[in-house]
């Protein structure tokens, strides 16, 4: 989604009304209860929350010029990788084997066998259609944010085709947009 993303895909940047700001905060708090204690630091009530609208119905949530979350249409908010790296335990984790790393980092979606092979790992609680952190064999930090096409159990059982859509990965356009002025 962010493969060729850059500031020119931005169509508008708006400070949202307090009511919308509250709604966004609430959705994020519901989706990531682990973030609740630090939510006031991440999205300070007093700092303006900017919603950046981009092409393809993509929105970024930004504070102080730093993109922190993104979503598509009204879909769930997902953290940027830089944010996830700071709070790695807020998402369920799926792990790809080492062989899959370079494909994930070129933007490919994540195939089931890369998750079920000996180097892979699955959190059995991960449901279908949810944001997850994509980890990698032998690495400490996440390399992508995914959106599951099927549950972890189905990934294991079906074991073919795309298991997780690759939403955002290291060195894609959103990664490179550390700040948006």
């Amino acid at each position: 989604m962010f493969k060729k993303f850059s500031s020119e895909d931005v169509s508008s940047q708006n400070q949202v009304k307090a009511s919308v700001q509250r709604k966004i905060r609430q959705s994020i708090a519901d989706e990531y209860p682990g973030l609740e204690p630090v939510l006031d630091d991440l999205l300070p009530k007093k700092s303006p929350l900017i919603v950046v609208k981009c092409q393809n119905h993509l929105n970024l949530v930004m504070v102080n010029n730093v993109p922190l979350f993104f979503n598509v249409r009204d879909g769930p908010y997902m953290p940027t990788l830089r944010l996830l790296h700071q709070y790695p335990d807020i998402m369920k984790k799926l792990q790809v084997d080492r062989g899959a790393i370079k494909f994930v980092l070129s933007g490919a979606n994540i195939m089931c066998p890369g998750l079920t092979s000996p180097g892979g790992a699955l959190d059995d609680d991960a449901l279908a259609e949810t944001p997850v952190a994509i980890m990698a064999e032998g690495k400490k930090h996440a390399l992508a944010i995914g959106f599951t096409k099927m549950s972890a159990k189905d990934i294991r059982a079906i074991n073919k085709g795309i298991g997780v859509d690759n939403m955002h990965y290291l060195n894609d356009g959103l990664w490179k947009m550390e700040r948006l002025e």
């Binding site: 850059s6 500031s7 020119e8 931005v10 682990g34 204690p37 630090v38 790296h85 700071q86 709070y87 790695p88 335990d89 790393i101 370079k102 980092l105 690495k139 400490k140 930090h141 390399l143 290291l170 060195n171 990664w175 490179k176 947009m177 700040r179 948006l180 002025e181």
Partner: protein
């Protein structure tokens, strides 16, 4: 508030921007190696072995003279002048760990207009950083001056550039030379129809 989770500090590579453990999958692992040897040898034990083997031919000394920045957020490895040698910046030669010699980049600014979606266009400015200009700063100034969006992005060769929305290619030169008098007009080039044309 004692149970507040502390943010994890990830070691990012200032060369390729990825977490250091992913440099090996990054755009140019070779370029990351000198920094990794100094700052994250435990992640790539083989690199250290390689270097120790080569120490005989003074590779380590070369590395020191390239000046490896001690981490932090800077994207480009800072070049620290070594031992009082006063080589001029343009002629500085980087020696890569493999012993290859790499010429230091020429100090020039490249301005290119890129047309997207027929009507939208972006003016790309590359090279301001080579004159010691802070890109985030420059980007702000450009955005303000031309009342448009400007942002620092990584270009296709992983170097940072400024993208300014709109066609401002011809006003920008004047602005650059006025704002940063250190930049000579002769160092500014436009890309026109794929050719590099001197602006002055």
């Amino acid at each position: 508030m004692a149970e507040k989770p502390q943010p994890v500090r990830v070691l990012y590579c200032p060369v390729c921007s990825l977490p250091a453990e992913y440099c090996e999958f990054g755009p140019d692992f070779e370029k990351c190696k000198p920094w990794l040897i100094e700052n994250a040898p435990e992640l790539y034990p083989d690199l250290l072995k390689d270097r120790n083997n080569k120490q005989v031919d003074k590779v380590s000394e070369q590395l020191q003279s390239v000046g490896i920045s001690s981490g932090g957020g800077d994207v480009a490895a800072t070049v620290i002048p070594s031992g009082g040698t006063s080589t001029s910046k343009q002629e500085e030669v980087k020696r890569l760990p493999g012993g290859k010699i790499k010429k230091k980049e020429k100090q020039e600014i490249i301005i290119e207009k890129i047309v997207r979606n027929k009507r939208k266009c972006v003016t790309v400015v590359k090279g301001l950083d080579l004159f010691g200009i802070k890109l985030s700063d420059a980007s702000k100034k450009l955005g303000k001056k031309f009342a448009t969006g400007a942002s620092v992005v990584k270009g296709p060769t992983e170097k940072e550039q400024i993208d300014v929305q709109g066609d401002i290619a011809y006003d920008i030169m004047e602005f650059i030379t006025e704002t940063w008098p250190d930049v000579p007009e002769t160092a500014i080039y436009f890309i026109e129809d794929g050719r590099k044309v001197a602006a002055a």
